[in-house]
Symmetry: C2
Subunit: 403 residues, 2 copies
């Protein structure tokens, strides 16, 4: 089991001690997190680390996962995209199914906790099915600055009953938020299979086992297969880079249980990149083996993140923690993590030539990649590890639970 | 939300009233069910109906789903098969992963209920991670009469801490059960999308939408794609039947989230039956659309269940409830449900010619199918509906909670 003591090799003792002291004021409180999946996606990863740690430091913290269905997740995926501004046909049937599944789940999920933390839109309506016994927090990982208007009005109908919203960044806040909000950026756990240190031999063993040739430099994008991640743009950039430096592109893709759209995007990309795939210059790596993802990131000469829109983007955080040079779009949470030219490179999403140029520059100047990577790692240590996230949650709980 | 009152059209008021009265003695008690998946497979189906009903009649009943991983489910699938007698290499690594995942889940799953009901082997070790505050029941849906000996000894190490085991049939009991056991056969909910009445037009609409031709009689097996269900034997029987009566075979298959082996079996069957599939005489129907499964069962002239070994076999129960003639192997829970020649036909699993003969007989004599089907439906109404299961659970809870 993960314990706070495990972080002594990474975090100064003084900071760990401060966490224990914060926890001591919450010993008789009970907390529960609710989200939509226990594996796949950034929220599940965070909860897999955060929830055991909260229990380890003495706060009784439960974790419930909504019992979704494929139909339901199709709808909530649309909501996710709609909150990011895409059009949505918000039919009566969709509203009804969204409510009904939450109602059914609530009927046998007994929540009488001092604080209930609801993650993202999927379980948002649960609050309608309870008498409030304690504070309810909506922890939204999505950029809410410019949502579809009809959907926003619908979502707000649930939000008004909450005590607070947590967002990843001030710039994600909708101007019409009906409840107070607080900024808590997400974070990664440096001790998971996906992030823990691997020596060079272990990396090479993973790469060879996965059948990835080691004869050329490697560029990698790690992401869900989502139009927002622009895998097609990644292909275009790769073709530009290849005109200057012979190299290989890896798509390390991750299909989450609540992401049926991903299957469709995968098919489309495979079709467009068929020739490159057959030549072995583009390789798809399944991202469900955490140690392999870890090795792929460490083995990559450059990590690319060509998103057109992002939440916080933990894939970037993971790459930065591994001291990799990251060339990424200047969108969502990415500029909160990368200082351009210092700890990576930022580009406008449409600037394919700019992306290609920076990647070629790093491939031709390994010292440059080294410098960016070291700065990147220290940024993550300071701001984006799970211990900082835990501290922020404790501060939040003091505010909403102990008044 | 499902309520007990919804059953008035199916169950006599007197029986419903008895259920309410039994519940009244448990009003101040809290119960929790734990299993491995919230969709896919018979256990999830039962809990999706049973848990809301228990809450509806006033018993606070939670439902927790173990946060499994693909690796974990590979192991527990082996355990399932091993408990049914297959060889298993019970390595230290498998024991460790089995324990670790249960330990991690237990760390944030706070169980202080009056009764905890653990379903099947996946969450069985949880009991090791708690101080007991109330009764713990292991509800095992697997035939335990002849398990792999090493595995049985390992499983028994957890079982000894339980207060009781529930089995589906007396014949599933291992002679060396270390705790008292009680027999509660499983049951179906007649009001789900999969089982509710559909008129002829609705059936035909579903069948046509699924692209199933309606020009020939239809034989169907509804099952997971599991060697125990012997889909290859079904193919052999189909070929024998076709020598006498032109007809079509449907495999209505269901892949559960905790069943990675199913994917492999599917590929193998598709390969062996390739020609028949291309000719359109064998059709695979995905079983994840409940209304379609319902329609397929109702549209079938004969339902076959060619298992070589079975748990209780709810697929048979569903077919019987739809007043279908079922031709099935005389194994597991099937003979508890079908009286040979009265409410269906029973055959030894190896008797391919016997299966074919009975199927031909029914196809050539529709009145015979009608007679068997009506008897089948009344058997299910009396013994295998969710209301009977609920009654049995209430009796059990009186025994273990109110002493």
């Amino acid at each position: 089991m993960l314990t706070l003591d495990d972080f002594r090799e990474i975090i100064p003792d003084k900071k760990l001690s401060e966490i224990y002291q914060r926890a001591s004021k919450l010993y008789n409180k009970s907390i529960v997190h609710v989200n939509a999946t226990y594996q796949g996606g950034g929220v599940a990863e965070i909860l897999n680390s955060l929830v055991p740690l909260m229990n380890d430091i003495g706060i009784q913290t439960g974790w419930r996962v909504l019992h979704g269905s494929l139909d339901f997740f199709e709808i909530t995926k649309e909501f996710h995209n709609g909150l990011q501004g895409r059009d949505i046909d918000l039919t009566e049937e969709k509203r009804r199914m969204y409510m009904q599944l939450n109602g059914n789940f609530s009927a046998y999920t007994h929540i009488e906790h001092d604080c209930t933390i609801i993650h993202d839109p999927q379980p948002l309506p649960m609050i309608k099915f309870y008498q409030k016994h304690g504070a309810w927090i909506w922890r939204c990982h999505i950029d809410l600055s410019d949502p579809n208007a009809t959907l926003w009005d619908f979502i707000k109908g649930f939000l008004i009953k909450y005590d607070m919203t947590i967002l990843s960044s001030e710039q994600y806040a909708h101007q019409d938020l009906p409840v107070p909000h607080r900024i808590i950026p997400p974070a990664i756990n440096p001790l998971t299979m996906k992030n823990k240190d691997l020596d060079e031999d272990a990396v090479r063993e993973q790469i060879e086992q996965a059948g990835i040739p080691t004869d050329k430099p490697v560029i990698t994008q790690v992401s869900r297969l989502d139009p927002w991640k622009d895998p097609e743009g990644v292909l275009d950039i790769f073709k530009l880079v290849k005109q200057k430096v012979d190299c290989r592109l890896l798509f390390c893709y991750n299909l989450a249980a609540d992401d049926p759209e991903g299957l469709r995007v995968y098919d489309h990309i495979c079709q467009r990149a068929q020739e490159d795939v057959e030549r072995g210059d583009i390789i798809f790596v399944e991202g469900n083996q955490e140690t392999l993802v870890n090795a792929v990131q460490r083995f990559s000469d450059v990590i690319i993140q060509k998103s057109v829109r992002e939440g916080f983007c933990l894939a970037v955080t993971e790459a930065l923690w591994k001291a990799r040079p990251v060339v990424a779009s200047n969108v969502g949470g990415i500029p909160l993590q990368i200082e351009d030219g210092v700890s990576g490179y930022l580009l406008e999403p449409h600037d394919l030539h700019g992306f290609a140029e920076r990647i070629v520059h790093i491939l031709e100047n390994p010292g440059e990649g080294e410098r960016l990577g070291q700065n990147a790692r220290e940024t993550v240590r300071e701001h984006f590890l799970i211990t900082r996230l835990l501290t922020d949650y404790l501060d939040l709980l003091h505010q909403v639970v102990n008044h």
